[in-house]
């Protein structure tokens, strides 16, 4: 069974600070996703990481993937209040015998609830 663990699960930080969210997963995977979710809202895609050593950056967020360590990080630089949200990482599931070769499902972490205080 694929397990995806995020830490921390809750993070309160001051504006202007840097911090990193960690995502560990238990088995080989081809794809790792980061999503943002605001309260009561849908999941907004942030990054898709497909290869070992992949690094992607968008604004104050940067995500990286180490497939050998089965670890992805989401780094926040000089945090601002607008980045307050819950951040999920997700990994594609192993293909089961049932699969007809189509899309796999994603296994999500429990999410990191991030509060950035002015």
């Amino acid at each position: 069974e694929l397990k995806v663990e995020q830490n921390p699960l809750f993070l309160s930080m001051q504006e202007g600070k840097n911090y990193t969210i960690y995502c560990n997963y238990s088995t080989t995977s081809d794809r790792l996703y980061w999503y943002r979710q605001d309260p009561g809202k849908s999941l907004e895609s942030l990054f898709v990481l497909l290869s070992n050593g992949a690094v992607k950056q968008e604004g104050r967020l940067m995500a990286s993937l180490d497939t050998k360590a089965r670890l992805s990080t989401l780094h926040i630089t000089a945090a601002v209040h607008d980045l307050s949200a819950t951040y999920f990482c997700a990994v594609d599931m192993e293909t089961r015998a049932y699969s007809g070769g189509g899309a796999d499902g994603l296994t999500f972490g429990k999410g990191t609830h991030l509060i950035i205080q002015p």
Partner: protein
């Protein structure tokens, strides 16, 4: 920007009733998904759908659930004989492609969700 749309946004149903949740995926997408999120918990995969058939399904997706693409645009999730524990936000999602090097095609876009309350 194209988006995945879902209806209804919120539905209250009595235990034992049947519910149909509807989704319109992004028009050029080929892969469709349903996920659910129980309040305060993580997002859980239910089922994926490609080429008019189920591609993958999780242990949650038992005989109580079914999916259908009745026409060229809609993708539905039917929940028969709802239980209290089916109360959750149900997300539909779609992607253009899967498993290829094209990064944009691998992005899975989620709808706004349908909040189901079973009483």
């Amino acid at each position: 920007e194209p988006e995945v749309t879902q209806t209804p946004s919120h539905q209250v149903t009595q235990m034992g009733q049947e519910v149909i949740l509807r989704c319109v995926p992004i028009s050029n997408h080929l892969y469709f998904y349903w996920y659910r999120q129980i309040l305060g918990q993580k997002v859980e995969f239910l089922v994926s759908f490609y080429n008019n058939e189920i591609s993958e399904k999780s242990e949650i997706f038992d005989d109580q659930f079914s999916v259908e693409r009745p026409d060229g645009s809609n993708f539905t999730l039917k929940i028969r004989s709802t239980k209290l524990e089916d109360s959750a936000m149900y997300f539909c999602a779609s992607s253009e492609s899967f498993g290829i090097a094209d990064l944009s095609g691998n992005t899975i876009y989620f709808g706004e969700g349908s909040w189901l309350t079973v009483v």
